[in-house]
Symmetry: C2
Subunit: 305 residues, 2 copies
């Protein structure tokens, strides 16, 4: 199976602790790297995770709170020191470019590559990135400031050719692409060989949903229904429900409720409040409702699907 992994660089919330870095993740899709959020220290954790800077071209920022974007300056500077020439694309809510560009102009004068900013509207579900194998779509969240989650969806891949059958029916090379994409094969003497005899279906496309920071939103369920992996914030235990509501965060139990309602395959919780010395209380709470729950921690690498 081709690589589709989530690397946790940081899973703490705004206040620093000795246990966690602020939020940052790297999604690795067939060795193309996509960063989600970039809290302070993200570049240091990136090195620790032994990921390659040169593979990172797209960064997605959920919202403009410092603990989700203060690592950008250091990362962008480092890329320049390393002689990067490839463009870097940053997708975020409105407002980042105006703040970051004056800093870059001062601290990275004469930068050798371009940073391109792509603001998105946090109120709508919209595809904001596409390549040959992947799309990224915004998931509107409700936080104290405009905020979006992201849905990473693999595209359906072509069917796999069954080599023996191709040989048996004498299918010429130039027909193979059409057949991979589902066409039947007409032999020179007029017979129609159905595609199902010539190919095996590719694995179904996998999906990863990232939802942080947000108050509990049951209405997210249809948007993330059946994803292979859901990262959801679980800043607090349910005993802190009122604090969670006030600060527009979610409890571990609520994250599990959403995972169950959306029938996701696995739930990964993170964005832990600094008050929890030991987050196993959050894990236990989520597992009661949704047993396939994992606790995020720095340098964890989880396979999607």
């Amino acid at each position: 199976m081709e690589k589709f992994e989530v690397n946790i660089l940081g899973c703490g919330s705004a206040l620093p602790t000795t246990r966690h870095f602020p939020t940052s993740q790297v999604v690795n899709v067939r060795d193309k790297l996509f960063m989600i959020d970039c809290g302070e220290g993200a570049q240091l954790q990136f090195r620790k995770a032994r990921l390659k800077f040169s593979r990172l071209n797209q960064i997605f920022i959920s919202h403009l709170h410092g603990d989700h974007c203060f690592g950008l300056l250091g990362l962008i500077s480092t890329f320049d020191l390393l002689g990067r020439t490839a463009e870097l694309h940053i997708h975020s809510p409105e407002g980042l470019e105006e703040r970051l560009v004056p800093m870059l102009n001062y601290f990275c004068r004469g930068m050798g590559y371009r940073v391109l900013f792509h603001p998105f509207d946090t109120r709508e579900v919209a595809q904001i990135y596409e390549d040959r194998s992947l799309t990224v779509t915004t998931l509107p969240l409700r936080h104290r400031i405009p905020c979006c989650g992201f849905l990473f969806a693999e595209k359906q891949r072509p069917n796999h050719i069954i080599r023996e059958q191709i040989d048996f029916y004498g299918v010429p090379m130039h027909e193979l692409n059409r057949i991979k994409n589902g066409a039947d094969y007409a032999t020179p003497d007029g017979r129609l060989i159905p595609n199902s005899l010539l190919t095996r279906p590719a694995a179904s496309p996998r999906r990863y949903a990232y939802c942080s920071d947000t108050v509990y939103m049951p209405e997210l369920a249809p948007l993330i229904a059946g994803v292979d992996l859901l990262f959801h914030e679980a800043t607090f235990a349910h005993s802190e429900l009122s604090r969670a509501r006030e600060t527009f965060h979610t409890t571990a139990r609520q994250a599990a409720e959403l995972a169950a309602a959306a029938r996701v395959r696995r739930l990964l919780i993170g964005h832990f409040s600094a008050r929890y010395e030991d987050e196993s209380v959050l894990l236990a709470e989520a597992c009661q409702l949704f047993p396939d729950t994992l606790l995020a921690h720095e340098t964890l690498c989880v396979s999607v699907g």
Copy 2:
């Protein structure tokens, strides 16, 4: 002896490695904390060193390269989240306020405390801070942009009273402060008791000098002569002398030469280039010329004097 310690939060240079954080130190003088430089992740390392945020009121930035100041935004935000009300003073070369304030206005709207900026002239030796027990003085350095080191000097403390002698000569309470500060004591019957009979001298004031980033400057020696601890950058080994000169950095051997010429008590080297997987080569090189050399590493705490 009262506390005068240097805590290393980060001792790498600009490129991140898995071994080092960028530059930051905390000087602890009798539990008042002074930060020197504030690279990315400084607030995380501060927590790891188990230092108290509330004790930090003064930050000194040597120069405006990102690896020496990109941690400020996160640190300042965190102080606000923690409900700080005390003013925070930042001493740095010209230009920091203009860059930082727009970011703070956006990311820390309605901050509960004031950040006061105190730009200093990097071309002159000047006292930029003073309290009851300490002065901080700039040490002009030569780097690619305006840059200063800092000399932290304890003030001479009053002599220690010899309790038995005070009792023996029947010295009244109200005379004690004068005597601590060196006065002799005139008895009611006209005898003069010399101060040396009544007090022991306090320990001599200790001094810490911080010199980073800079090309080798032998002319620094008189400014830092005899300090108890000299932190000096040693970005490269001497085999990379031409690279050191080009980038306005120092080699380990040059740092040791300066330490020897200035007859300092101990030398602490840091700001290591990312190319050194194992910095013992730098330590060995420095020790050849100046045996009392220490290698900086994260969470190291060195006593001054």
